[in-house]
Every structure is written in C-alpha cells, then in structure tokens.
C-alpha cells in the first residue's frame, strides 16, 4: 500500500435551517397522507391534508425570498451556463463542495415546488364525481370545468410522483457514486465541509411571522377567498 492521500480536515457546520427541514418532512408526510386518503376514500381528510400542504408551500415560497441563505432562491437558482457546467462534473466520483443545493438540485427544487403548487391549485377547483366533497374554490367554476380540474389534479400528481422518483434516484446516486450523504443534513441540519461556509440564518421570529402569513393565506383560501 502506498501513502494514502491525507483527508483534509472537515468542519461540521449548519447548512439547512429548522423551518426548511420541517417544511420538507411535513410535505413528505402530508403528501403521502393525502395520497392514502384518496386510496382509502377519505375525501374529507384529503381536503385537510391539502390545506396543510397549501400552508407549507406558501411558507416555503415566502421563505425562498425571506429565509436563511441556503433556503433562498437567489442562492440556488442558477442560469443555464452554471447548470451545464455543473452537469459536466456529475461523472466525477467526488462531490463538489457546494454549501446548499447544487445548480441541478436547485432546478429540481423549483420543479418540485411548481408541481406541488399546481397540485394544490388544481385541487382547489376540483369537483368530485359524487359532488359531495369539492375544492373550496369549486363554486367559481362549472361542473364540467371542475371535473376537468380533477383530471388535471390527477395529471399533476403523476408529475409529482415522477419528480419524487428522480429526487430519490439523485440521492441514491450521490450516496453510492459520490459517497455524499444528503439525507442526514436534511434531518439534523448539519453537514461536514472542507471549510466552514459561514452561512447566515434567519432568526426564528421571522419564521414565525412567515408562518402566520402562510396560515392566513391558507385560511382565506379555505373560506373560498371570502373575507
């Protein structure tokens, strides 16, 4: 055996803030639950799950502008050149030391958020075939249009399922091929870096304020946009 290359010292530093992690895992749980509700014919619960998801997505969108550095869209939404440049490094065995979403992952986040948003919006206008449980904004559209929204709701869910498969495949690829663990940081918030990225984090009171705003928007939508 020759001399092993000495590993550079690693620094454990915070990467994902609490709100981002909570939103992530709450979305996993609630989307899974909403899916189960449909399978089990629990339409009333399905609507409640949908309201929860609406609140989470509104929170995450605001947090993308007002949250911690690693949660902001400006920090991870990159142009085509940077994205392409990153894509060309994918085959390298070593993970690039990006403090947050890499350019490809950033676009995956945008796609997942868009799919969830379209899922929620189509659900709001959906009319079910028995007419018993319908979205809170379904009275704004005709029966036929409401049924059409239900079809789009289903189509949009196919998009979410595909994105989830892609998401999990990427995590597996980073784990097996690049030896980079993406899961633990999303649970604990901490990751080992070559050097401390010194990310800035939003104070908790701001998360509280955004949560109140998201809850208010959700309440308003639940009530059919009535004051």
């Amino acid at each position: 055996m020759g001399a092993e290359p000495t590993e550079p010292p690693k620094v454990r530093a915070k990467l994902w803030d609490g709100p981002t992690r909570i939103v992530h895992w709450a979305l996993v749980i609630l989307i899974g639950f909403a899916w189960w509700c449909v399978k089990a014919n629990q339409t009333e619960w399905h609507l409640w799950a949908g309201y929860g998801i609406l609140g989470l997505i509104v929170f995450r969108l605001i947090w993308g502008f007002a949250g911690s550095a690693s949660a902001r869209f400006t920090s991870f939404v990159k142009g085509p050149r940077a994205t392409l440049a990153y894509a060309q490094t994918l085959s390298k065995r070593s993970a690039v030391d990006v403090a947050g979403h890499n350019p490809l992952g950033g676009w995956s986040v945008v796609a997942i958020l868009a799919a969830i948003l379209s899922q929620v919006i189509t659900g709001l206008f959906s009319v079910d075939v028995d007419g018993l449980e319908s979205g809170p904004l379904s009275d704004r559209v005709s029966f036929e249009t409401g049924r059409l929204f239900a079809k789009w709701h289903d189509l949009s869910f196919t998009a979410i399922k595909l994105l989830v498969v892609l998401h999990l495949s990427a995590i597996a690829f980073y784990a097996l091929y690049k030896r980079a663990n993406l899961i633990t940081p999303m649970i604990t918030g901490y990751r080992a870096f070559e050097a401390d990225p010194k990310l800035s984090f939003a104070p908790l009171w701001r998360a509280g304020l955004v949560a109140v705003a998201a809850a208010a928007v959700t309440w308003w939508v639940m009530k059919g946009l009535r004051p």
């Binding site: 945008v110 379209s118 919006i121 005709s142």
Partner: protein, 165 residues
C-alpha cells in the same frame, strides 16, 4: 442581479404552473354518434353532466352565507326529474361493449336487481329532497343534500369505473 434571479425563479414557477393547465385540451364529446348505442352513451353522458351541474348548484348555494332558496328549489326539482328518467339512460348494448368511451360498468346489465335498487335509492332521496328544498329549512336542506350525494356515491361505487388512483 439578486432581484433579477428571484424574478427569474418566480416567473419560471408561474410558467410551469400555467403550463400544466394550457397543455390540457378541453374535454368534449364531439358530435353525437349515429348508432343507437353511440347515441345512448352520448346522451347518458350529457344527462349525467346536467345532473352533476344541478347538484353542484345546490352545494354551491349551501356554501354561501345567504343561499338563494329559489335556485336550490329549482335544482332540486331538476334532480328529481332526472333521477326519475335515469332508468331509461341505460339501454342494453350501451355498455363498454358499444366501444364508445363510457364509465358504465357491465355490472349494470349483469346485476340488474342491484342496479335497480341503487337507482331507486336516488329516486327516493331526490323525491324527499324536492319538498324539503321548497320548504326553506336550511338545516334540513343540508342534511337531505348529503343524503342525495350519498345515493350518487352509492351507485358510483358499484357501477361506475373508478377514477385512477
């Protein structure tokens, strides 16, 4: 620069969302087929759409702070007459074997006793609903509307092809 990036992210998000809606063509049945089975499937679909619209009109009113009672009453009458006519919407040969797109299950014709009972339940509930709707007691209307919807669901669960889940 930062602001431009945020704008880019936001507009892309909006684009993706609206893209989903635009890609979809509006559902329509096209012209009425000329064969008897085709005509039956087509007419049945139109009739159910009208029945669904009438029930939705009731439900929409019931969501409001001040429901329009006249609208509830007129749609309750529509529901009753459409439920009464419903048995004629399923002539033999208008099932999936007719090769027209339909969610009617073959069990409608292979288990006519059970189907007749499911239809009867809708007729009973809509017959009850009409005087209640005309009466104007909001609580009673809400309860009976629930019973009418339950009758729709009861029949769909056995005799309508389930939606993809």
């Amino acid at each position: 620069m930062a602001f431009q990036k945020q704008l880019l992210a936001l507009s892309l998000l909006a684009g993706l969302v609206s893209g989903v809606s635009v890609v979809q063509a509006h559902e329509h049945m096209g012209p009425m087929p000329t064969t008897p089975a085709g005509k039956a499937v087509y007419t049945r679909h139109e009739n159910f759409k009208q029945q669904g619209a009438a029930f939705k009109a009731v439900r929409d009113e019931l969501k409001k702070d001040a429901p329009n009672m006249a609208l509830i009453s007129s749609n309750a009458a529509k529901l009753k007459s459409s439920a009464d006519a419903l048995p004629t919407w399923f002539p033999k040969g208008s099932g999936p074997e007719a090769k027209y797109e339909t969610d009617a299950k073959p069990e409608i014709w292979s288990d006519p006793v059970k189907f007749a009972a499911a239809v009867k339940r809708l007729q009973v509930e809509t017959a009850k609903f009409q005087p209640i709707a005309a009466g104007g007691d909001l609580g009673a209307i809400k309860a009976q509307a629930q019973a009418v919807g339950g009758a729709c669901k009861n029949c769909h669960d056995s005799f309508r092809v389930p939606e993809e889940k």
